[in-house]
Amino acid sequence: MASDTTKVLYGLYNDEEDLKKAVKTANSSHLDIMDVFTPFPVHGLDPILGLKESRLHQLGFIYGAIGASFGFGLMSWVFTRDWPIVFGGKPYWSVPAFIPITFEMTVLFAAWGMTITFYTICGLWPGVKAKSLDNRITDNKFCVAYDITNADESLVEKLRSFFSKTGADEVNVKTI
């Protein structure tokens, strides 16, 4: 794609079961879907779309491990080197007391790390303009989208007939 904009042909469905059927039909007629948008996670959609398991959670584990080491290291350093204080007669390096902070740091690092990674992958950062096909896809419509920027007329016709056959409620074209 040379230009920044994409011309999209999309169909809106009213029900997630219709959507799943449509995706299966598209698969069997070799019409490669650009993307699918749903207002909520539809169980069983990922395998039909052929989406592989996300590797985001592997990063999550790494972020969590870093957070755990950081939290534990921080507590150890503060209470043995930087500012040793006796609390209730406990030794300076009292591991059980560090566990809650270690846990919190694990969660914090994993959560922030995964969020930032996810936003970066999706190209979402402050000031970005939303490329929304239709506002109803976050409300009550299930959308199947095709990139027709470089498509010829016959393919577009084929897609339109596919949408009407699979019971799409609406078919629109939008350049985003």
């Binding site: 990922d46 395998p47 996300s54 007669g89």
Partner: protein, 563 residues
């Protein structure tokens, strides 16, 4: 999808195997009965341990199902007959706990220190101040109500819910009417089990360490039972599938049970750690004694618990694909099932052993002395140490310090009974008079003794008292460092198979009880269709899909179309 094999048949071969398992369990029980101490502690603690664990599995399976029903959980409809059949074991639990009740009334064993005659009578040789204070709850009547009585109540709910569910199968159409009734029973069961299970656990397990208490204990052991139930569910799903049943139960169902197994294992760890950390931090002798006993003399039980029930499920089930693989789930479920059996072993055995030992040797009060968890120095001890070098000076700060130290010692001492009182009083070199006042207020019975001790220690010169403190400190360190030496000569804590670690008879008994459980389970499973045909959520459960397929599944499914 063609559904076949919806009627489970309890085949002769399985029956034979289970009967064999039960026979093995019985033989092992008899084995532990003979060649044991005079109270047959090993036998009774094994019996209690397995009765509580397997009964717990049955009612927590019911509680878990009720939570699902209350929350309109539809995914589990295809496997709910498993939980219904598991809950029917409560009736056996009533029989098992009745044996315990009879043994308590008949004083057949010494698992429960509070059950000693005369424990609450002032002046009696067996009088125990702490247990006398708890006698309103820790007595045979409450024991009967709290175990058998509550189990009977839960069994009533279990039969209601199961009968409702089976009756629904006979209806013409699927309708929500039955579900609404079911939901009322299920929702009302949740508070009943939630509150009463605490009493059940306090009576049957926590009261073994009668002097000790923990507010986290009931939750922690309740979750332990729930994990036992969930891991057994996984094992049974895999078993039934291998026998050709439950073909409509997919990896997605397994995945969801796996998520619960993972999440609740983490929750168990949270409770386990909280119970430990709060006690460790507060460092009150009457609470730390429980962990001191276990960490010093039962390290295999203590750390093994964490390895089996946290490390293993956490790191194995963390990944998405492991929860979808039958082999991995089978392995983890085995570990967790055994792990929570181990957990109850850890809760029951050390306390039961001490209780029996003290019953035989009559030295119960002195054993529950104030004792810090290793690695944690008690506050008063530390304060005394810091003042020692400054004993001779008259400065203001030192006095304040010493008073603080003494106060700390007073508080500790007041809490810890006679033994600790003596110890605390000896530390109060500077303000012994004040200490005496405090002590007299708090513990009347020990006052005379303490006055004597405190006065003795208040009179000597500074040099002497400082020397005394040092000596005392030295003793403390010696005691702390010499645990192993002590252990070697302590018959109530020595390494002993069946207490320090589970022995072969214990494993045999576990197999026996498990066989009994499965025998009852299969008998009840046989009585109803494996599929609740008229459940309104059946369709949803049959088409339950979750998560992303793992690689091997992608290959499996790429060949044919869905549904």
């Amino acid at each position: 999808m063609n559904i076949t094999n919806t009627q489970f048949e309890f085949a002769g071969k399985t029956k034979t195997v289970l009967l064999g398992g039960m026979a093995l369990g019985l033989v092992c029980l008899v084995l532990t009965f003979f060649g044991d101490d005079e109270f047959h502690t090993r036998f009774w603690s094994n019996f209690l341990h397995n009765s509580v664990y397997f009964t717990g599995i049955s009612f927590m399976a019911l509680a878990f199902m009720c939570a699902q029903i209350t929350a309109f959980g539809g995914w589990m409809t295809t496997i709910k007959r498993i939980w219904e059949a598991m809950s029917m074991f409560i009736i056996v639990g009533i029989v098992l706990m009745s044996v315990m009740v009879v043994s308590v009334w008949g004083h057949l064993h010494q698992l429960y220190h509070w059950n000693t005659p005369g424990i609450a009578e002032l002046g009696n040789a067996n009088y125990d101040r702490i247990l006398a204070g708890k006698a309103g709850f820790l007595n045979p009547i409450w024991y009967t109500v709290g175990t058998v009585g509550f189990l009977a109540l839960w069994y009533f709910w279990a039969t209601k819910i199961r009968n409702n569910s089976i009756e629904q199968d006979t209806k013409e159409t699927r309708s929500l009417d039955y579900y609404k009734v079911q939901r009322k029973w299920a929702a009302s069961f949740l508070p009943i089990i939630g509150f009463l299970v605490c009493v059940f656990i306090w009576q049957s397990v926590m009261s073994i360490d009668g002097h000790w208490y923990s507010t986290m204990f009931a939750w922690y052991s309740m979750i332990s039972m729930l994990l036992g139930a969930l891991s057994l569910t996984v094992l049974l799903i895999i078993y039934l599938k291998s026998k050709g049943y439950l073909e409509y139960v997919s990896r997605d169902h397994l995945h969801d049970v796996g998520k619960f197994l993972f999440g609740i294992s983490v929750f168990w760890t949270y409770l386990w750690f909280d119970q430990f950390m709060l006690i460790w931090y507060a460092n009150n002798g009457e609470e730390t004694v429980y962990f001191k006993e276990r960490m010093n003399y039962y390290p295999v039980l203590f750390w093994g618990n964490l390895l089996l029930n946290f490390i293993t499920p956490f790191f194995i089930l963390m990944r998405n694909d492991t929860k979808r693989k039958f082999g991995t789930m089978f392995f983890v479920a085995c570990v967790v099932f055994f792990g929570h059996w181990w957990d109850f072993f850890y809760m029951i055995k050390p306390g039961a052993r001490l209780a029996a030992y003290h019953a035989a040797h009559g030295s119960h009060t002195t054993e529950h002395e104030a004792a810090p968890i290793p690695g944690a120095t008690p506050a008063s001890h530390d304060a005394t140490t810091s003042t020692t070098p400054e004993h001779g000076t008259e400065s203001h700060g030192t006095e304040a310090h010493a008073t603080e130290a003494a106060n700390g010692a007073v508080t500790t001492a007041a809490d810890h009974g006679k033994e600790a009182l003596k110890e605390g009083a000896s530390k109060m070199t500077e303000s012994a008079e004040k200490a005496v006042d405090h002590v007299t207020e708090v513990v009347k019975e020990g006052a005379e003794k303490v006055v004597a001790t405190a006065t003795t220690h208040a009179e000597p010169t500074h040099t002497e008292s400082a020397a005394h403190t040092e000596t005392h400190e030295g003793e403390g360190h010696a005691a702390e460092g010499g645990h192993d030496a002590h252990a070697a000569s302590d018959p109530s804590r020595d390494f002993k198979i069946g207490y320090t670690i589970p022995g072969l008879p214990e494993l045999g008994i576990m197999i026996g009880f498990l066989s009994l459980f499965l025998f009852m389970f299969f008998r009840n499973l046989e009585k109803a269709s494996l599929i609740p045909w008229r459940d309104p959520y059946l369709e949803e459960s049959m088409h339950h899909e979750t998560g992303v397929l793992i690689d091997s599944e992608q290959e499996e499914k790429s060949g044919h179309d869905h549904h």
